[in-house]
């Protein structure tokens, strides 16, 4: 056939030794471009929170989805984690002075780390996927374009309320998770390990500081934003029918989970390591 050759990659003209470098460069550029468009998307979504009109119904629906329907799974995760930490740290410590050690370990690890991170990961799996699937389906069936033609800005109507719901709802969820996690540890310590309930409780309260709780909740707000952002971003930009929606869903969950863990490190480094 005399059809012209397919447009070739720029690297094809390069001498062989340079090709890996060109490939590396392309990958880095693509990464930077992805990060840039994600950041722009997030900023645009946030900017719509400051400018009317606001969509209260959309916010409430997203908030319920985040806070209320995720509550059971987050609660169970928190209780069991608190219980396991109490058990594990008991075996790891000398029986001497174990009570106050266990109380402090349980409350600090739950409030500072496990509450926000486990809730974040659980919600990333549940809601990152749900949001990406919903927005992705709306994209490939032209519903997002239809919004635009009906005088409704889809970033304002779909994305901004979800971002805000994530920022508000996850700290509430984590507050509940903190309480239940400490409670789980308390149950194991008093019922199974036979510690004095009153002393354990006062040790717990004595060890935890307001800043631990506040930073834990602030982490949660960041995680909530990231989860909603990844769900919306991947869904909003999905293309290619059902398969495209499927892969948008997967990458929403994966990227949200990774970002939760990465930002957990960054925020811990910022607030606790001093």
């Amino acid at each position: 056939m005399s059809s012209p050759p397919a447009p070739s990659d720029a690297a094809d003209g390069l001498p062989l030794p340079l090709r890996p470098i060109a490939a590396l460069g392309r990958t880095v550029l693509a990464l930077l471009q992805g990060a840039g468009s994600l950041a722009l998307f997030g900023l645009e979504g946030l900017s719509h929170l400051l400018r009317p009109p606001f969509y209260g119904r959309q916010f409430l629906a997203a908030f319920l989805e985040f806070a209320f329907y995720s509550l059971p799974v987050v609660a169970l995760t928190a209780i069991f984690s608190g219980m396991v930490i109490a058990l594990q740290s008991y075996t790891g410590f000398a029986r001497f002075n174990a009570q106050s050690a266990i109380a402090s370990i349980v409350v600090l690890s739950v409030v500072r780390e496990l509450g926000p991170v486990l809730a974040g990961l659980m919600v990333a799996g549940r809601l990152g996927a749900a949001m990406a699937a919903e927005l992705g389906t709306m994209r490939v069936t032209d519903q997002i374009d239809a919004l635009t033609t009906l005088s409704t800005n889809p970033m304002k109507y779909l994305v901004a309320p979800r971002l805000f719901a994530g920022i508000v709802a996850l700290p509430l969820l984590v507050a509940v998770a903190d309480l239940l996690g400490v409670m789980g540890g308390f149950l194991v310590a008093t019922v199974k390990l036979g510690f004095n309930a009153h002393a354990y409780a006062s040790d717990t309260i004595g060890f935890v500081q307001t800043s631990d709780v506040v930073v834990g909740l602030a982490k949660a707000a960041v995680f909530g934003f990231l989860i909603a952002l990844m769900g919306c971003y991947n869904g909003y930009r999905s293309k290619g029918g059902a398969q495209g929606v499927g892969s948008a869903t997967t990458s929403a969950v994966v990227s949200a989970s990774i970002l939760v863990l990465a930002f957990d490190f960054i925020l811990t480094e910022m607030f606790f390591s001093r």
Binding site: P7, P52, P53, Y55, E134, M138, T141, D142, Q143, D145, A146, L147, T148, T149, L150, S151, T152, N153, K156
Partner: protein, 267 residues
Amino acid sequence: MSGTVPKIRIRGLHKAFGSKKVLDGVDLDVMPETSMVVIGGSGSGKSVLLRCILGLIEPDSGSIEIDGVDVLALGERARDEMRQCIGMLFQNAALFDSLTVWENVAFGLLAKGRRPRHGAEPRLTRAQARVHAGKVLEQVGLAASVGDLSPSELSGGMQKRVGLARAIAARPEILFFDEPTTGLDPIMGAVIDGLIVDCVQNLGSTAIAITHDMASATRIGTQAAMLYRGRIVWRGAAAELLHSGNDMVDQFTHGRREGPISMELRK
């Protein structure tokens, strides 16, 4: 007919996706209160053309004027206002499946971003919008009680009708129909065509309709144009479609395999 200024005037419109040229210099005039039917093979860029006019896709070059105003040069806000005078029936209806049918029909009327123009339906309260949606549903031949169902409970033909109701609910000056009768039985197709003609006449709107169905094209259209390889290769009265004297149009309208148009099976 009000003067000689076209309602929609398109000049030299280009759009490529990557290396694939979809629109390659489209020129098209649509006069006020007429219906333009656009025909053309699958993948010839008909939907892309409508999306460019709506501002859902940014064209690479060219101009699109509505009422003599170049919409591509407008700011985002003015463009939103311009969009409000256009109603669109999407190829697959694109109903919001998280809302009920009446909320779909009334969506544009309740939209907080809407600033009604002169002559258009004003902003309504929810209760008023619901009553209005019931009336519009009856106009397209659906009982007002259908309003309480969800779109997934409707057949394809009913969804098209709801999409039509949603497009006309705000009495737009311009209406776009993307394959309004594809996938419907011939009788339902004729019914929808009739509805479209009624709507366009009652509202005094200007319409662009895309269709593959020649019977439908002659019923809906006053004017017709054929899009091929990114350009308008023929335009004329819709009644002439079946005997236009243009080889390409003839091949298309009569569905012949032999002729100047060779289907690109793979490229």
